[in-house]
Amino acid sequence: MKTIWLAGVALGTSLALAGTGAAQDITVGVAGPMTGQYASFGTQLKNGAEAAVADINAAGGVMGKKLKLEIGDDACDPKQARAIGEKFASAKLPFVAGHYCSSSSIPASEAYQDGGVVQITPASTNPTFTERNMWNTFRVCGRDDQQGSIAGDFVAKTYKGKNIAILQDKSTYGKGLADEMKKALNKGGLKEKMYEAYTQGDKDFNSLVSKMKANKIDVVYVGGYHTEAGLILRQMRSQGMTSQMISGDAIATNEFWSITGDAGEGMMFTFGSDPRKRPTAAAIVKKFKDKNVDPEGYTLYTYAAMSIWTQAATKAKTTDGKKVAETIKAGKWDTVLGPISYDKKGDITTVDYVFYKWSKDGKYDEVPTGKGS
């Protein structure tokens, strides 16, 4: 009898403890390709989210509660992304910063919508993501129709009468971006000489390169990720092609340079104006640098996504998905990226895509001449 009584007390205490533990914390998610060939982007998202959660908790958390971060790995695979969506939704997470690949963000968003989860993607630029009349989808980056059209205009103007090749990797992101670029290019009065699709994960592009060489291509536009773009560039240079390569925001990772080596010099890509250089980001960038982490690419975008949700939840005094989403759309938020506000779809109202160029020392920097019109 006594043992049963003791067991009851023990059970009760442990339940009470568990209860207080749950009341203390709000679990939020970050999801992206933590493994696989695009893992370097997953690391960016994870770094940004972890830093944001640490800073938010240091500043008192959300409504007096601490944030806890749960990491989801989709390996840039739509099926895994959907599974993470279901998992986070059934765990009643109020918010997810993610995913990276557009082809992951889109299927996951439906699970999030059903589960009442607000999703802010730091990096998925495919227009479809916010074009489906969903209440829960937001992004802190621009869209491929903006990014692609800036690139298309630029190429049409700068390389009038030259031979253009457009390559894409058949992914939601890559094909979307390449097609938007093509639209703008054709509107600018230039017709591409080649349009080819390759397969993600391929390593041998030599015959594609020699085909471009035979077609005397001057400019190659790639809708795709840095691994394949880097290899194509490397194989172009080793076949003696000196053509300019231009691509999109997926090149904003130092891993690009480790693939291309010196062949990467001169590579251009579009990306939001460097958040690391904004005065609003100076203190946070220093914190990253102290930890020996380069807040490259989408790291600070993820940080901003976390902070927008935190601010909105604090303002709405609830973590209820729909209410927070409405608050986000109505408000104006101060972030490391500068002030951000949203339109009805969940897209940001100010977009500033600019051109970057990789220089000899393996760093990328804005090029003033490349400013989109």
Binding site: E196, K203, D204, N206, L231, G240, E255, G261
Partner: protein, 304 residues
């Protein structure tokens, strides 16, 4: 014409790498009649060992490229051969007298184990190697189109050629080669006549793995990047090459490798790179319809 020659160079290089891997499939099939699905991953492990060895040698200050290459070749071949031996010893030998499907399943399991092991030990990211062998030669040039052959392409093809010749000699002229041929013809009879079949089979795996590791080194030098997943794609292609050439036949493996490399290259050069794998596998199907044992394969003789 120039364009054609350029594609030929690219295709032969790619085909050489496939051929080197295909030998491992075809030898094992010839001797014990099983498909070693882990062979593609042994190739991948070879590439990773080579990468580690390269970086280690650069770190301790070996700057002479030929010396570094030679050492890497030795290290990678030795260690990968060890992997090949261990795979056979652990996963296949205990199942040799089991029913036919058992070693096949165990091979698939081994493939997954190797892949996951490298993914966890080395990380899932793409591993780059800075370009070590650079430069090339202009073969011909006309109407503004230059045909180039790079030094690394020459090295890949020459290495493959030397290894192929050496290996054919080994099979045709040495004691080990005779044992291997004996095992291929009749395993039980060979053992009755005093051939140490355990040792012969082990050595077959060791040699196959060593050749795959050379393919891994060539792959690493040629493309400059490897990841834990390359074994799967390259393995499937090389296996296809072995079947196309006639599984069990050594010249067939080489021929099949070359054909797959050339088909892929010419298809992407003259049609669209998008459908190159479709093209390669369609041709495989067509060949197997008309030549069920592959191009150089012998029909299996029913043993009484």
């Amino acid at each position: 014409m120039e364009y054609f020659v350029q594609q030929l160079i690219i295709g032969v290089t790619l085909g050489s790498i496939y051929g080197l891997i295909a030998i491992g499939y075809t030898m094992v099939y010839g001797i014990i009649g099983m498909i070693n699905f882990a062979h593609g991953d042994v190739f991948m492990v070879g590439g990773f060992i080579a990468l580690t060895a390269f970086l280690a040698l650069l770190a301790i200050g070996v700057t002479s490229i030929p010396l570094a290459l030679f050492l890497v070749l030795l290290i990678a071949m030795a260690l990968t051969a060890l992997y090949g031996w261990a795979v056979e010893r652990i996963a296949y030998r205990p199942l040799r007298h089991s029913y036919r499907l058992a070693p096949l399943i165990s091979a698939i399991g081994m493939s997954i184990i190797l892949q996951n092991f490298v993914q966890i030990a080395q990380g899932a990211r793409v591993k780059p190697l800075p370009p070590i062998i650079t430069g090339g030669h202009r073969v011909m040039s006309s109407e503004g189109y230059d045909v180039d052959i790079s030094n690394i392409q020459i090295i890949v093809v020459l290495t493959t050629l030397v290894l192929m010749l050496g290996f054919s000699w080994l099979v045709a002229k040495t004691r080990l080669g005779r044992d291997m041929r004996a095992c291929e013809q009749d395993l039980k009879m060979a053992s009755l006549l005093g051939v140490n079949i355990d040792r012969t089979i082990s050595l077959t795996f060791v040699i196959g793995a060593a050749l795959a590791s050379v393919a891994g080194i060539m792959y690493l030098l040629y493309y400059g990047v490897i990841d834990f997943y390359i074994g799967f794609v390259a393995g499937v292609k090389a296996f296809t090459a072995a079947v196309l050439g006639g599984i069990g036949s050594l010249p067939g493996a080489m021929l099949g490798g070359l054909l797959i490399g050339l088909i892929e290259t010419f298809w992407s050069a003259y049609f669209s790179i998008e459908y190159k794998d479709v093209a390669a596998f369609s041709i495989l199907i067509v060949v197997l319809i008309f030549l069920p044992t592959g191009i150089l394969g012998r029909p299996e003789v029913e043993k009484v």
